[in-house]
Amino acid sequence: MVIKILGAGCSSCAQLEKNTKEALERLGLEAQVVKISDIQDILAYSVMSFPALVIDENVVLYGQNPTVEELMQLIRDRGL
């Protein structure tokens, strides 16, 4: 599983990264968490509001900063 966090340098992106890692830890799962900040790479996902969360190449959230609990739910929903 690869989780990508898209963000153009906003403060909430760091928050999302931290929360994602915590959600994974609480679920006891291993996943690669990658931060994407290059505009070209971000646009490839058609996202314009940040932060955005991409799980296994699917955009699951954009312009939102979810709680750890919501992230756990999102990761579980992705079939793990």
Binding site: M48, V59, L61, Y62, Q64
Partner: protein
């Protein structure tokens, strides 16, 4: 202003009973003005930013792009400027928005209408206008700003400036994103967080602005302002437009000051031009757009919007004099 009557009573009580200041003294009036304005502005900001961001959660930029990508010019400009009003703007989001729109095949002029309206007609400016100048001036500001965004976008579109976009635009056939399912709880939490974030960012500016404003209100005589602020000479409008360009991040602090100057007799068209220049012509935004467009395009863009602002300033100085 009757809904703020309790705030006035509180400000009076604090000034005259708790601080025991002398009725009608200049210091007391300045303190009273400061307490009243600060509380009123913060109540308005919290309530309005919260509701605007709640509405916003239903129409993210990704959705706006989808709607606009099916529209042609004029209709596109009218819609883009409208959506610009409800979209928040920060310099960090300017580039992804600009490129995201262009890549979806939205015409450059339509994209500009959006980019002009978004910072110019934002909720913080509207709240400050509403709180400090009343609804009539706020409405004039919103309508003029909207017209400037639409007309400037149409003109820029007609100028065929696409070659000045300095970025390899990859046309994407499909830019649609799945609709996010958000619960009301999530929307409310987001709106609350956003409101707190904005307030945290601007509160010092507002306090300083109202503080200086209160001092001018209490101590600086009107004749002095009229003599030195040159509020009504012919060059006042272009002068304030230029001064407004580097002031973007301080809009919240400048507006309370401007309101006091208006109260002391500076013409309303000049005030409108000043506020529009602060929000609509922003130096940080130009610097960041430089990454994706030639300087020439930024200059043309700023000039067209600048002319619109000057026109508005002169028009209302003439109409309301």
């Amino acid at each position: 202003m009757s809904i703020f009557r309790p705030v006035q009573i509180f400000a009076d009580w604090l000034t005259y009973s708790i601080f025991a200041m002398q009725q009608k003294s200049l210091a007391a009036e300045a303190v009273n003005f400061f307490i009243f304005d600060t509380i009123k502005i913060f109540i308005l900001l919290s309530v309005i930013i919260f509701f605007v961001s709640l509405i916003r959660s239903f129409i993210p930029p990704e959705r706006i792009r989808k709607i606009l990508s099916h529209k042609y010019e004029i209709t596109g400009n009218l819609l883009a400027a409208f959506f610009g009003i409800i979209t928040p703007f920060c310099t960090c989001s300017a580039i992804p928005l600009f490129l995201g729109f262009i890549e979806a095949g939205i015409p450059l002029g339509v994209t500009f209408s959006f980019l002009i309206a978004s910072p110019m007609i934002n909720e913080v400016a509207i709240v400050l206008l509403l709180g400090l100048f009343g609804w009539k001036i706020s409405l004039i500001y919103i309508i003029s700003g909207y017209i400037i965004a639409v007309v400037s976008g149409v003109i820029l579109g007609k100028m065929k400036l696409e070659h000045l976009v300095e970025y390899m635009v990859t046309r994407r056939a499909d830019t649609s994103l799945g609709v996010m399912k958000l619960t009301w709880k999530q929307r409310i939490r987001s709106a609350k967080n956003y409101t707190a974030e904005i307030l945290k960012k601007i509160w010092p500016y507002i306090l300083i602005g109202i503080g200086i404003g209160a001092w001018i209100h209490g101590y600086v005589p009107t004749e002095f302002i009229m003599r030195y602020a040159a509020g009504n000479s012919w060059y006042a409008v272009p002068l304030v437009t230029l001064i407004g360009i580097p002031l973007y991040s301080n809009a919240a602090g400048v507006l309370p000051l401007v309101s006091v100057l208006t109260e002391k007799g500076v013409a309303i068209g000049t005030t409108l031009a000043f506020m529009m220049a602060i929000t609509g012509l922003s130096l940080p935004e130009f610097l960041i757009l430089k990454k994706v467009m030639k300087a020439k395009l930024i200059i043309i863009f700023a000039t067209v919007v600048g002319i619109g602002i000057l026109f508005t300033g002169y028009l209302f100085n003439y109409l309301l004099s």
